[in-house]
């Protein structure tokens, strides 16, 4: 069954770290917490406080409609880059990625459906293939 392995946990940490970097580089904002868990071919990501200060300010000053529009576009940008990031890191194709952010509670989540179990979390083979994490 899919018990967490050392390789699986490493994959989680790498994706969490890369997602933090992605938020910082694209939005100039760092969420307070990102968690990533792989269950079979489903990767679940939870982001605490993903809203930028710009969105938060607009929400406070009754420009919610603007904040919603911004978030729709920002989520689209994050989604596209997240797909590339996961595929590069996990060495497996992303079949679908659903992303949603709740403005009221300032929380976001994403579910990535993978084409299969990432090869990096399969039982290690007794060969000399290079570590897939070397290039991340």
């Amino acid at each position: 069954m899919n018990r967490p392995t050392h390789a699986s946990e490493s994959l989680h940490r790498i994706i969490e770290h890369q997602l933090q970097t992605l938020y910082q580089s694209q939005l100039g904002h760092q969420p307070s917490y990102i968690s990533c868990q792989l269950q079979g071919t489903t990767l679940v990501i939870v982001v605490e406080h993903p809203l930028t200060k710009v969105e938060q300010l607009l929400m406070v000053y009754e420009c919610r409609h603007l904040a919603e529009q911004i978030r729709t576009i920002l989520d689209r940008v994050i989604r596209n880059k997240l797909i590339v990031m996961i595929e590069r890191t996990a060495k497996i194709k992303v079949v679908d990625l659903l992303i949603d952010t709740r403005l009221d509670v300032n929380q976001g989540s994403a579910i990535a459906i993978l084409a299969g179990i990432p090869p990096v979390v399969l039982p290690a083979k007794l060969d000399n293939s290079p570590s897939p994490f070397n290039d991340v």
């Binding site: 939005l27 200060k53 710009v54 969105e55 300010l57 607009l58 529009q69 911004i70 576009i73 920002l74």
Partner: protein
């Protein structure tokens, strides 16, 4: 009216610093150079690199109209805080604040209309003298400050901060 112990240059510099801090705290964004200049009952403020990353991203993604709306929304959201900040530093009430920004250059310009000219301290030879920053008064009140040499020239505060 509060009498300022600061010179005109010091007042302008303080205003620049406070505006920089406001942008950092409220928008998570560090602007470039912030220039404030006092003219009688008006203040001219120019902020370089004022456009936040989310706004830039919206424009890059082909949503310039939305980016402009966001900038307009942010201007409205920040205006009360800016007014309070300016009144606190200058010691006079703000009657009106006009603001505009250009996405392409990243520059924001503001004109602040005050209820009265702020009072500042003359910088040399007579440190105890108080003088209003307005034309028509005797003694070192020329706005350019050069004819009398008593005013510090307008100072610009440059941020050395780089984006993280």
């Amino acid at each position: 009216m509060t009498v300022s112990m600061l010179t005109r240059g010091q007042v302008e510099r303080t205003l620049s610093q406070r505006i920089q801090a406001l942008y950092r705290e409220q928008l998570e964004h560090r602007p470039g150079k912030v220039t404030c200049q006092l003219f009688d009952e008006k203040v001219a403020i120019v902020i370089e690199d004022s456009i936040t990353q989310p706004e830039q991203l919206l424009a890059q993604e082909g949503h310039r109209g939305l980016a402009k709306e966001v900038r307009s929304g942010l201007d409205g959201a920040l205006q009360p805080q800016l007014k309070t900040l300016i009144e606190d530093v200058l010691g006079v009430a703000v009657i009106d604040l006009l603001s505009d920004a250009t996405l392409e250059t990243g520059r924001t310009g503001m004109i602040v209309v005050l209820a009265d000219a702020p009072t500042v301290r003359t910088s040399v030879s007579a440190p105890k003298q108080r003088d209003k920053l307005s034309s028509g008064k005797p003694l070192d009140t020329s706005l350019d400050g050069r004819s009398s040499g008593q005013f510090e020239s307008s100072e610009q505060f440059e941020s050395s901060g780089k984006p993280e």
